[in-house]
């Protein structure tokens, strides 16, 4: 059925299927605005006065700072080492002095400050001792391990630490390396220029990565709006085990899963990684960084950044990490007068930068100076008319109009059912929406809400588990105590007390204790899940982790036992005496209560001892009275009927 529809769709749209590439659903064709920044070659940026290096420039754990304020460092020296598996190092982009380790505003959608190392360059730009690696004659594992301290992360924008993508644990099943050079977002040209100018180095980098992965095949995917880059790459990779494939310009073909589908006609299952089917994807700039690391020993200290949009001279620059944005703006001839703010990334998925002082980080592939006429503010959103243009444009084949509806109404379960988490936030839906609804915003909101709810639920589950366990413990202690009391009472009966009183007392006490237990049982069963099952499950689950808790739960009982053992005969006698007195008192009280009850029964249901009660108790009594009246009335009515 779907095949027929697709076939018919293609016929009607007049799409000729290129046999070499395999189209995915939807996608959009925004104006690419790439020509502006490709007229000039990649330029080196002058050394800024200060470099601010955020510790969090990658996906994963924050690295551990190795330097202190006042330390002199050399170019390429490690300033922070990776901590944990998924983490990346930070290196000094130039030689100089560490002048601060403090919170600074970083380029992040949140606009919040984060820990940064500030380095004041000494102007000498002195390299540390660099150690090139003969990668062909070195053990692969050692190579990947050394890459861990290279600071290299995915430079396409994902910033995932590169060494993790190359870990093979000796049994790599990756057969195909896909090099992502699609660069599908408008305005961004850093990869385009890199391929034009440094294709030879890129190819060497690909060879290294291919070698590390053991991938016999390599496909380099380039969109057809970069003919110069494609031809440079084709020339450079002649006679190599790699192939350049030109794909039609269609946003978001640079998304890894979409690109794999385009190039290889393979859909990565939604719950799997590409490596599960033997494919690994690398951004082209990352590959170059890997080459420079092994060939020259240079760690990740700079990248190529496109500075474009509303600036006088849009251009690509090789920028040291930590360089303040304003240096980059100045190098591009300055921003035009009507510039309002700056966007990091492309216009489809980028975000607003908080100010012009933020540093360039590993994720910064492009900075766009924004102006009102460049990015027209959308008119107020109209209602969704269900035209489904968004569904036609969605590269994941989702139903954005349904996701919007569910997200808007906080119907998060439904949103999840409709595969909200498959959404890649590419923005195609918003791009084509006639009602100008900021759809992606709704999805971001719903995703964050769901994640927060999941976390809260997890915490609640844990708390309930603990509570169930606690209730079970209290109940057990209670029943133990009841048993002890009963035993004691039995013993007491043999001694001083008249037989029937003592027996009655024992029964009374047992009864009251039972009532107490019953109350507890009630509390426990009022928990949402079946108590018994929950307790069993809780105990089973918690056994390993909560051994300590269990011990703690046992200890009070132990203490009681110990106290009892330690009791001297005198104390015991005194206690017995006290207990007997108490029992006598209780017996008297019970007799009194009985008499009162009788009196009450005779005198109607008037409550006693109500002179000195608190307001709350009085209210309770009134309520009970009202209830009684009601019941009485009801009974009477029933009778009369």
């Amino acid at each position: 059925m779907n095949a027929i529809i697709n076939f018919a769709s293609n016929l009607i749209r007049g799409v000729s299927s290129n046999k070499d590439v395999f189209k995915f659903n939807g996608g959009v064709h925004p104006q690419d605005h790439k020509a502006e920044s490709t007229t000039l070659p990649i330029a080196q940026l002058a050394m800024p006065e200060k470099l601010t290096l955020p510790l969090r420039q990658h996906v994963g754990y924050i690295p551990k700072v190795l330097v202190q304020v006042g330390d002199s460092v050399l170019k390429g020296q490690m300033l922070a080492e990776p901590e944990g598996t998924v983490s990346a190092a930070i290196h000094a982009p130039t030689s100089g002095t560490i002048t601060a380790i403090s919170e600074q505003v970083i380029p992040h959608p949140s606009g919040l400050p984060d820990m940064c190392i500030t380095l004041t360059p000494d102007g000498k730009d002195t390299w540390m001792q660099l150690q090139p690696t003969d990668w062909r004659n070195t053990d692969k594992k050692a190579l990947v391990d050394s890459l861990r301290s290279s600071g290299i992360v995915g430079l396409g924008g994902a910033t995932f630490p590169t060494h993790i993508k190359l870990r093979t644990n000796g049994k790599s099943n990756v057969h195909t390396l896909v090099i992502n050079a699609a660069e599908c977002e408008p305005y961004i040209t850093c990869d385009d220029m890199l391929m034009r100018e440094r294709s030879d180095q890129v190819i060497k980098g690909i060879e290294i990565v291919q070698h590390l992965l053991g991938a016999e095949k390599c496909i380099i995917g380039i969109e057809d709006n970069k003919p110069l880059a494609a031809s440079a790459m084709t020339t450079a990779c002649a006679n190599k085990a790699m192939q350049v494939k030109v794909v039609p310009t269609l946003y978001p073909s640079g998304d890894a899963r979409r690109l794999i589908h385009l190039l290889l006609d393979i859909e990565i299952p939604n719950d799997k990684r590409s490596t599960d089917v033997g494919i690994q994807v690398f951004n082209i700039a990352t590959v170059l960084a890997v080459y420079r690391y092994f060939e020259f020993g240079e760690p990740a200290i700079n990248r190529i950044v496109t500075m474009t949009g509303n600036v006088v001279k849009p251009q690509n620059f090789e920028v040291l990490f930590g360089t303040p944005l304003q240096s980059l703006i100045a190098a591009a001839g300055g921003a035009k007068a009507d510039t309002t703010h700056y966007i990091m990334g492309g216009p489809m998925m980028g975000f607003d930068l908080p100010n012009e002082q933020v540093p360039i980080t590993k994720a910064a592939n492009c900075i766009i100076a924004a102006a009102p006429d460049l990015f027209v503010a959308p008119p107020p959103a109209m209602p969704c008319i269900r035209c489904a243009r968004c569904a036609d444009a969605c590269p994941v084949n989702l139903q954005p109009q349904e996701l919007y509806w569910f997200s808007k109404s906080d119907n998060f379960e439904k949103a999840r059912d409709y595969n909200l988490f498959d959404c890649i936030e590419c923005g195609c839906c918003t791009y084509v929406c006639p009602s100008d609804i900021p759809l992606v915003q709704y999805y971001r909101y719903a995703k964050s809400e769901i994640i927060a709810l999941d976390k809260a639920k997890e915490a609640a589950d844990l708390a309930r588990e603990r509570n169930d366990f606690r209730l079970a413990r209290i109940e057990r202690e209670k029943s133990e105590r009841v048993q002890k009391h009963a035993e004691r009472a039995q013993a007491g009966k043999a001694e001083a007390k008249p037989a029937e009183t003592s027996a009655m007392e024992a029964t009374k006490e047992q009864h009251s204790a039972k009532q107490e237990t019953a109350t507890n049982v009630e509390t426990a069963t009022s928990a949402p899940t079946d108590k018994q099952a929950a307790i069993a499950a809780a105990i089973a689950r918690a056994k390993a982790q909560k051994l300590a808790t269990a011990n703690a739960a046992e200890s009070p009982t132990d203490n009681v036992a110990a106290t009892e053992i330690a009791k001297t005969p005198e104390v015991e006698a005194a206690e017995l005496k006290a207990k007997q007195d108490k029992q006598a008192l209780i017996a008297a009280a019970i007799e009194r209560a009985k008499a009162q009850k009788l009196a009450a029964a005779q005198a109607g249901l008037a409550p006693k001892n109500v002179e000195n009660v608190s307001a709350a108790v009085q209210a309770e009594i009134n309520e009970t009275d009202a209830l009684r009246e009601k019941v009485k009335l009801a009974t009477e009515n029933k009778k009369s009927e």
Binding site: N2, P30, M348, D352, M382, I385, R386, A388, N397, Y431
Partner: protein, 339 residues
């Protein structure tokens, strides 16, 4: 703040609606040619009523009036209803139908984007049930009329229900071919002899089939402009053709041929302009096929077995009810999910 994407490229809602109106123009021209200028009066009355009702309700509902009036969706509803009504329908009929469509079927459900039923078809159904006599009497096309009415005559008739020279209303109106066919079949006549009556044309109604052809033209323009998807009209027309062909093949004496059904009544208007209302229709490609096919089959069944001459309005409303279910059951496979 992450508020990307910063760029968009989409026609506005009003641009979409304007193109729909533009696509109706060939049909209106043909209509005017065949039945006279009265339809232009009806369209004007309907448009005015729709905009006034929309503005009134937006005001009551405390919604911004200008953007919602400018979206032109009310005008589309008005035009579709006016075109579905018999030519020379009295002014109050147009007003009542349009008012009901806008106020009850659209605004009371929440306005643009929230109406579960096609407003024009709700208006039409209300009129059909309330005023069946007026709704089933169609004037003969000008070229067939014994007493062709001038534009002024038509105008006069619409507002005062008076015809010149003491002509009786019955003299200028008759049943539609669909209606006529049904009543004649009940009198045990055969299709072949029935369709020899002068009101029948090459395929459907004499004259009416030209208007139908013009709707088809406008519809193709909408597909070409990608305002509507091909799924809906194709599935509707295919289903209508298939079911009418099946019955026709079984007993051609009792059932009209597929072409008659395709070119009669509101078939083409329905295929390209009515079931393509996005708000009350399904959104998934497969859902569109099922929905439109359902309308096609129901239209035929109501035409042949139902009590009303044309089945489009009720077929559409019945299928509108199924839309949430259709959408839920026809979710396309998401990228990377199991086939």
């Amino acid at each position: 703040m992450n508020r990307s994407p910063y760029i968009t490229d989409a026609p506005t809602v009003s641009a979409i609606m304007l193109k729909v109106l533009l696509a109706l123009v060939p049909g209106i021209i043909a209509y005017t040619w065949i039945y006279g200028g009265g339809i232009l009066v009806s369209l004007t009355i309907a448009t005015t009523t729709a905009l006034a009702a929309e503005a009134l309700l937006l005001k009551i509902r405390k919604r911004p009036i200008k953007p919602y009036l400018m979206d032109m969706s009310a005008v589309v509803t008005a035009w579709l209803l006016a075109l579905a009504l018999p030519p020379l329908a009295p002014w109050w009929l147009v007003v009542v139908g349009t008012f009901f469509a806008i106020v009850i079927a659209k605004q009371l459900y929440g306005g643009l984007g929230y109406n579960p039923f096609n407003p024009a078809m709700v208006g039409y159904a209300v009129l059909l049930i309330s005023f069946p006599l007026i709704m089933t009497k169609w004037p003969a096309p000008l070229l067939l009329a014994e007493h062709p009415l001038s534009f002024m005559d038509q105008l006069n008739f619409i507002f005062s229900h008076v015809l010149p020279n003491d002509i009786k209303v019955d003299a200028i109106t008759s049943a539609t071919p669909l209606d006529y066919l049904k009543t004649q079949l009940m009198l045990k006549h055969e299709v072949a002899s029935i369709t020899e009556a002068p009101i029948f044309g090459q395929f459907g109604a004499k004259g009416g089939e030209i208007v139908t052809g013009a709707y088809l033209l406008g519809g193709l323009y909408l597909i070409q402009q990608r305002i509507i998807s091909w799924h809906l009209p194709t599935a509707f027309l295919a289903a209508l053709a298939a079911i009418s062909f099946t019955f026709y093949a079984i007993n051609p004496a009792h059932y009209a041929n597929p072409l008659f059904h395709l070119m009669s009544g509101a078939s083409m208007l329905c295929a390209f302009f009515i079931i393509t209302d996005p708000v009350s229709g399904p959104t998934t490609p497969r859902g569109k096929l099922y929905f439109a096919a359902g309308v096609g089959v129901l239209t035929y069944l109501i035409r042949v077995y139902g009590g009303y001459p044309d089945g489009v309005a009720f077929a559409v409303l019945l299928m509108n009810m199924c839309v949430p279910l259709i959408d839920a059951l026809t979710q396309p496979r998401v990228f990377g999910h199991k086939k």
